[in-house]
């Protein structure tokens, strides 16, 4: 039993930290963007990610034949945790679900076109699975793809496409076989975001950042840009989720926010009395710190299970995701309470406790327990996969 990472892994973390120190830039590393810090939506952020690629840190888990270094997903996990800890953009969809799915199932054209660009961070992707009538139930997606000569015509609407307003390519699921069972009629496509017929409409969120609706009106896609086999899209989506669990919910923002709160409590006073001496606050701090540690070790447990190989550690992933995100919301709520009346003030408002991040986190973390499989979905998974209970819905 060993709860620490190996010397080699720790050396890698130190190298990443040194890199981050050398590349400090408040526009690139912005903790106030909370969950959205991970996206590469500005030129500076893209340039930063290009440097990450130059350091050899894109494609670490890829096979050498495709330009990767085959050193295992754990390093990508460690990298992302460090990136997240300073609010820097993270490696994600490109080296993750897009690259890995293309390597396994894509045709040669797609591999040649996209894999080198991904490793060099020359392309940003947007992912389109969710639709207005298919939320937690992705297999219910309805966007239509109909045959048109040597290609397809896509018609319909996607929702919650976070990167649609800056990405070049759309990784999008569509129903190619309306007669097939729900899970078997879906195919995956790669479509340029600038393709005629695509309209992107921003959806502002209470997390300050935007997400997007994407309307596809008779968008033509050549058959070569179908990913893998027709009708197997849902399988690829599920497989990629399994492959990409390492990067699914970074933990670092939680200790980072807890530190913010602890430092606030350690230094702030109310009516001349230090908050740190307040027994009620001390009890709440103790609970939060303890639950944060539980969330952390549930993450390690899932990482360890992933490293062990074998079947995908579905229940471990769900337990971690459930606990960590529910805790994230509790922490945000407690930070507001401990911040008191001032905690209602927003980032960049004079005198806001914790730099206003108590407030922003309270709004941002709403999505934590929803995105990437809502808490209720995680509980369904745990009940069935781990506890072997009957279907409950």
């Amino acid at each position: 039993m060993d709860f620490e990472f190996s010397d080699a892994e720790q050396a890698f973390v130190a190298k990443v930290d040194a890199f981050l120190e050398a590349n400090r830039d408040p526009e690139v590393m912005d903790l106030t963007r909370e969950n959205m810090a991970q996206i590469c939506d500005t030129p500076k952020r893209r340039a930063f990610m290009k440097k990450i690629g130059q350091a050899g840190w894109l494609g670490m888990s890829w096979p050498k034949e495709h330009g990767g270094s085959e050193i295992g997903g754990l390093y990508e996990y460690l990298l992302n945790e460090r990136l997240a800890s300073v609010g820097a953009p993270q490696i994600g969809k490109g080296v993750g679900i897009v690259g890995k799915t293309l390597m396994r199932h894509g045709n040669e054209t797609l591999k040649r076109e996209f894999l080198p660009k991904i490793l060099n961070n020359d392309v940003e992707f947007a992912v389109g699975y969710s639709e207005p009538q298919a939320g937690s139930d992705a297999a219910a997606m309805a966007l239509k793809a109909t045959r048109d000569g040597d290609g397809w015509r896509l018609n319909g609407q996607k929702i919650f496409t976070t990167s649609a307003h800056f990405a070049e390519w759309y990784w999008v699921g569509a129903r190619t076989d309306p007669e097939a069972p729900k899970h078997k009629g879906i195919s995956l496509f790669l479509v340029p975001m600038k393709a005629p017929g695509i309209t992107v409409t921003p959806m502002p969120t209470i997390g300050d950042e935007i997400t997007n609706m994407v309307f596809l009106d008779d968008v033509y896609v050549p058959n070569d840009y179908m990913v893998g086999e027709r009708g197997r899209g849902f399988n690829y989506i599920s497989e990629a989720l399994d492959l990409e669990r390492f990067t699914m919910f970074t933990f670092s923002p939680i200790p980072q926010r807890l530190d913010l709160l602890l430092d606030y409590v350690a230094t702030e006073e109310r009516d001349g009395a230090p908050l740190r001496d307040d027994p009620v606050i001390r009890q709440r701090i103790a609970e939060l710190a303890t639950e944060a540690e539980v969330a952390r070790v549930l993450g390690l447990r899932f990482v360890a299970a992933s490293l062990a190989g074998g079947a995908a550690p579905t229940a471990e992933a769900s337990e971690y995701k459930l606990y960590a995100t529910e805790f994230s919301r509790r922490l945000a709520n407690a930070s507001m309470d401990i911040g008191g009346a001032g905690a209602q003030l927003r980032v960049r408002t004079a005198g806001a406790p914790m730099g206003g991040r108590a407030e922003s986190t309270y709004r941002y973390t709403v999505i934590d327990t929803i995105g990437g499989g809502a808490s209720e979905i995680q509980k369904n998974i745990i009940a069935r996969r781990k506890l072997d209970l009957p279907k409950n819905f």
């Binding site: 006073e269 009516d271 009346a341 004079a350 407030e359 327990t369 929803i370 809502a374």
Partner: protein, 381 residues
Amino acid sequence: MDLTFTEEQQMLRDTVRGLCAAHSPIGIVREMEDDPIGFPAAFWKQLGDLGVTGLTVPEAYGGGGQSALEAMIVYEELGRALAPSPHFVSAVLAGGVLARAGTEAQKRAWLPKIASGEAIVTPAWLEPRGGYGPAGVRLAASARGSEVRLSGTKRHVLFAQAATRLLVLARTGAEPTDVELCLVDPAAPGVTLTQQYTVASDTQYEVAFRDVAVAADERLGAAGGGWAVWNDVMHEGIVLLAAQAMGGAERALEITVDYARTRQQFDKPLGAFQAIAHYLADAATTVDGGRTLVHEAAWALATGRPVATLAPMAKLFACRTYRDVTAMAQQVHGGIGFTTEYDIQLFFRRAKQLQLSFWDDRYLGELVAAAVLAGRGAAPA
């Protein structure tokens, strides 16, 4: 025992609901977010014209002389509609202070204008690094003859830009309750307003006072008696805020139940999932319980019963319920509720703010504990 409202009370509710629908519909509520004035002028005028603004102001000063029960009904409706107005700060708090502590001349000067809505008076109370109790008041009031001079900073001053006067809580001595109340023109020399932005996107200001002169006739009540007056007024005020919270919680729950009845997931309505149905059933229970508790507190106020226990209980429970119900509501709404387009987020953001404003859980809890332990066992050491 009778937990129903009279016909007149029901009419009052309908009136206020109608006013909110006509003059502060949700689109207007959204427009007012982060606005420097922060409330719709037409709505405020209508509240004044129809006598709602002056509802609880004594009849002798142009008000309606109604009880806390009627005021509670108004606040449930304002809470449901999220309708922004300076009624609470001006008519309830400042009006309450003036009615209790003002001289006859001060009452005549201000209460009728407050009742009509012509004047807006807003308390300048909280300070940086200060709590909700008397010790939190540190802004210095130094005597210069019959004048006092104010120096210090206030925060969370609602609607300060639109205010006719600020009701300032200031410190006159070292004893905890050496607190003085006085009226200050926000346009007076030495007063600086800076808007501050909040989770509820309401309209608050930081107000800096640099050697601001206050004449003798702008000082309210006996020296050193300011905190007791403020404390009494707050005990009435928090019952109304509790009503506002329960109105908001009730409406947020309705919106969420509607969503759960119609939104389909895995080929059935969300509300057919037992986990979701049970969230909603729990929420319905705490909302009904909280509302009844608030009704009891308002009834106690209206009938002259003591409220040292019930008033803080009401705000504590109502605001916690509002916060918890709206957090649950966001979860049930899923991703779409995270977008600003849906209304549920308006409730979610306001709920947390209301919980932290005008005495938070911790401060209220101390009041409740003191009240329920009073008279039991030995006196505290």
